[in-house]
């Protein structure tokens, strides 16, 4: 659900005396020592190094990597309720740290777990390396109706399903009620209104209206897709041929828009998930935070909304380019995928589909704001929908904003070179921020950079 920078931010936060960082940690308990009978090969597949304790020792074991804060509880729930297979869980790091390890295991041909938690936007990156298994044949029909079409699209490539959806990140605009009241503005419904409101606040001597962070390229990608960009097209039947359009008009417009806001001093240019940024959020330095449904949980963990900024936050739907034709987008959100190193894919798929799908785990996840669930059992649960979110001062954020956004979300197509694409975006957004190039030029450079990389990797670029 989150990303690499979160860990670093968390680590740095711990060092910041100004902010009492206390990340939610539901499952820190039991020491390593769950010994399992089905110890197979070395590395990630070694079932003798589980963080959790497996009590049903005669059952076959599936190894699993994941990093949700309440993972321990979720795994225990699964093992308790299941009499067919047991999960051996290890947390090898969050986001990028885990991907680096998985990537190394793929290259080595050994060491990957049977089931792995990955963010939906990374699925194509690993799928194209044939590191993931299509789990459509292993029980998809039984759980098909538990998730919406957008959730399935995010984990599918062509007709194949490469993961079981778990949590999502429908995007919205978190804002400071105190700032909005002081400068007499209402939540902007379109991006044009967003810019006008930003100008109004600035003219009145107010804070910056938002932030353009070079280190969150996934946000820029989502906002480009919102305006109609279609960055990647590919047919899994012909993986060697790929369409890359990162500098179409929509992509350029969105980068230009944010570049202009930054240039005019309407938004900050601070990297996000850093202590600096969190301090800004706490101190009301940014009037809005364009982010996903998991953000309140993250912000609370980082110490936001607890001191002088208690009850200052509210959330409104994401501004639109065309309010008559709204488009909802997603940032983050993870799935459980079966790796091609799994000894028994059918058994592994049972775990991928079943883990974090029981009521108890889901309820724990959303009440503690660890996940925004994609499972319709939770999404349709009145307790979830009507929840008065403490972070938003009792606002029914799910009902008003996030659930409609999630329901309207139709899925996005992600990059098969996720890491390279994001690195390239970060570099060029950095250049936009320091004013050396325009947003449109940045889009052209990213296009050239990524297309060259694709060609170098043997693709035919259309």
């Amino acid at each position: 659900m989150k990303r690499k920078s979160l860990i670093t931010a968390a680590a740095l936060l711990a060092a910041a005396s100004a902010l009492a960082a206390c990340a939610p940690d539901a499952g820190g308990g039991s020491a390593a020592g769950g010994s399992a009978p089905a110890a197979n090969d070395a590395g990630g597949n070694n079932a003798s190094n589980c963080t959790n304790t497996i009590s049903k020792k005669d059952l076959p074991v599936v190894t699993f990597w994941g990093w949700y804060p309440n993972m321990q509880l979720v795994v225990d729930n699964f093992n308790k309720q299941n009499n067919e297979v047991q999960v051996c869980w290890t947390n090898v790091g969050q986001g990028g740290d885990e991907y680096d390890k998985f990537q190394t295991a793929i290259s080595a041909g050994t060491g990957a777990p049977d089931v792995i938690m990955i963010e939906a936007d990374r699925i194509p990156t690993f799928q194209i390396q044939k590191a993931l298994v299509d789990i459509k044949q292993y029980g998809y029909d039984a759980v098909k109706d538990n998730y919406g079409p957008g959730a399935w699209k995010d984990v599918s490539i062509g007709g194949a399903v490469y993961g079981a959806p778990v949590d999502g990140g429908p995007m919205a605009m978190i804002y400071r009620k105190d700032v909005f009241e002081k400068y007499k503005i209402t939540p902007p419904k379109t991006w044009a209104e967003y810019e006008q409101a930003a100008q109004k606040v600035k003219d009145a001597g107010g804070p910056q209206f938002g932030d353009l962070g070079a280190n969150v390229p996934a946000v820029m990608m989502a906002l480009q897709i919102q305006k109609g960009a279609n960055p990647y097209t590919y047919d899994p039947a012909r993986p060697e041929s790929i369409g890359i359009k990162l500098n179409d008009q929509a992509s350029k417009d969105v980068l230009d828009y944010w570049g202009r806001l930054a240039k005019n001093g309407l938004v900050g240019t601070q990297d996000q998930f850093t202590p600096e940024y969190i301090a800004g959020v706490v101190n009301g330095k940014y009037a809005t935070y364009i982010s996903a449904a998991w953000a309140p949980g993250y912000l609370t963990g980082a110490g936001v909304g607890k001191g002088k900024d208690t009850g200052k936050f509210a959330v409104a739907p994401l501004p639109q380019w065309d309010s008559s034709n709204p488009v909802q987008v997603n940032w983050g959100g993870s799935a459980f995928s079966v790796t091609s190193q799994a000894k028994n894919p059918a058994l592994a798929a049972k775990v991928a589909y079943g883990l974090y799908a029981d009521d108890e785990s889901l309820t724990d996840g959303w009440t503690n704001q660890i996940i925004f669930p994609l499972n319709l059992k939770a999404l349709n649960d009145p307790a979830f929908v009507d929840l008065k979110v403490a972070f938003f001062d009792g606002q029914q954020a799910n009902k008003e904003v996030y659930v409609p956004a999630a329901n309207a979300y139709t899925g996005m197509t992600y990059s098969p070179f996720g890491q390279y694409y994001f690195d390239s975006m970060t570099k060029q957004i950095g250049a936009v921020i320091d004013g050396s190039i325009t947003g449109a030029q940045a889009a052209d450079r990213v296009q050239e950079d990524v297309a060259n990389y694709a060609k170098e990797q043997g693709f035919t670029v259309q």
Partner: protein
């Protein structure tokens, strides 16, 4: 192995001296026994990985099309890759500025600590050395906070004079921000090496110099510095190698300034990104060897130019 050593040790004590040839053979064997453990570790953990990385660097693996032998193709690519070249250019510029700054500061402090003897010098020696004892990662995180606009002291200090604090994470100033971190970390270490060398100088030389009428400055410039030239050369080579392989500090500060510090900021960071972020182990290995080659050439050139003038002051 231990058994073997004990056995031979006792046997030499008890028995009468053998013929010369046998003793030499035994000495040879003993030599190998002593070198053996080191040799094995050296082979397994240095030579073998290096050889494997060299082997990897001659191949290319594509997402589509698989692995093929490209011989020096990766090296040709590296030396025409703007990211790699700009990384190399950065560390070369960085070395040209950072190394003299560090050495001058280290030398000045070493001369002061050597010349002044009071209770305070022991304490200051320790304090100057202390940053080296702090792990680079912690040091980088600490400076990350010191440079911060919200947490750091810069905003307050500059605010006193009504000025805005410089942003050391911006593209223009990151170079100086990093020079400051590196100098803080390493100057104390170099100071200790130079100080040890100064302590090794025979004090009668100073006495002779004073008899001839030399002042403190003259002693420092004409006796002390020339005599510790070998130590200076040593730390110059050390810092040259270390700076060309710059990695830790920018890699850590990247998490605070991703837009300024790109993944290919220094050649080592680029190799890391290629190998572990993008799984291009082949190209990553090639970059590492290319960097190794550059370091070798720089150090060789440096030693060549200072060879004839060991006392180059």
């Amino acid at each position: 192995m231990t058994l073997l050593i004990e056995e031979s040790a006792t046997s030499t004590q008890e028995k009468t001296p053998k013929s010369r040839g046998k003793v030499r053979l035994r000495e040879h064997l003993m030599g190998w026994v002593f070198v053996g453990p080191f040799g094995l570790v050296f082979l397994a953990f240095l030579i073998a990985p290096l050889a494997y990385a060299l082997y990897l660097s001659l191949w290319q693996k594509k997402l589509i099309g698989g692995t093929s032998f490209v011989f020096l193709g990766n090296y040709v690519k590296a030396f025409t890759d703007p990211t790699f070249l700009s990384g190399v250019w950065f560390v070369v510029r960085f070395s040209v500025v950072a190394i003299p700054v560090q050495i001058v500061i280290a030398l000045a402090m070493a001369l002061i600590v050597d010349a002044v003897t009071s209770l305070f010098t022991r304490f200051s020696r320790l304090m100057i050395f202390l940053p080296y004892a702090i792990p680079t990662v912690i040091g980088a995180v600490m400076w990350g906070f010191l440079y911060s606009k919200s947490f750091g002291p810069l905003t307050d200090i500059f605010g006193l004079f009504g000025a805005t604090a410089p942003d050391f994470f911006s593209k223009n100033l990151i170079f100086y921000g990093l020079i400051n971190v590196v100098t803080w970390q390493w100057a104390g270490y170099y100071m200790i090496i130079l100080y040890a060398a100064l302590q090794g100088i025979d004090p009668t030389l100073y006495e002779a110099a004073r008899m001839d009428g030399a002042g403190k400055w003259q002693i420092a410039l004409r006796i002390k510095i020339p005599l510790i030239a070998p130590a200076l050369l040593l730390i110059l080579v050390f810092s040259l190698i270390g700076t060309l392989q710059f990695f830790n500090e920018p890699q850590i500060l990247r998490y605070l300034a991703a837009g300024t510090i790109a993944p290919g900021f220094t050649p080592n960071m680029y190799a890391y990104q290629q190998a572990f972020g993008l799984a291009n182990f082949n190209y990553g290995s090639a970059i590492s060897f290319a960097l190794g080659g550059i370091v070798f050439v720089c150090v060789y050139a440096f030693l060549f130019f200072t060879r004839k003038r060991r006392s180059f002051f």
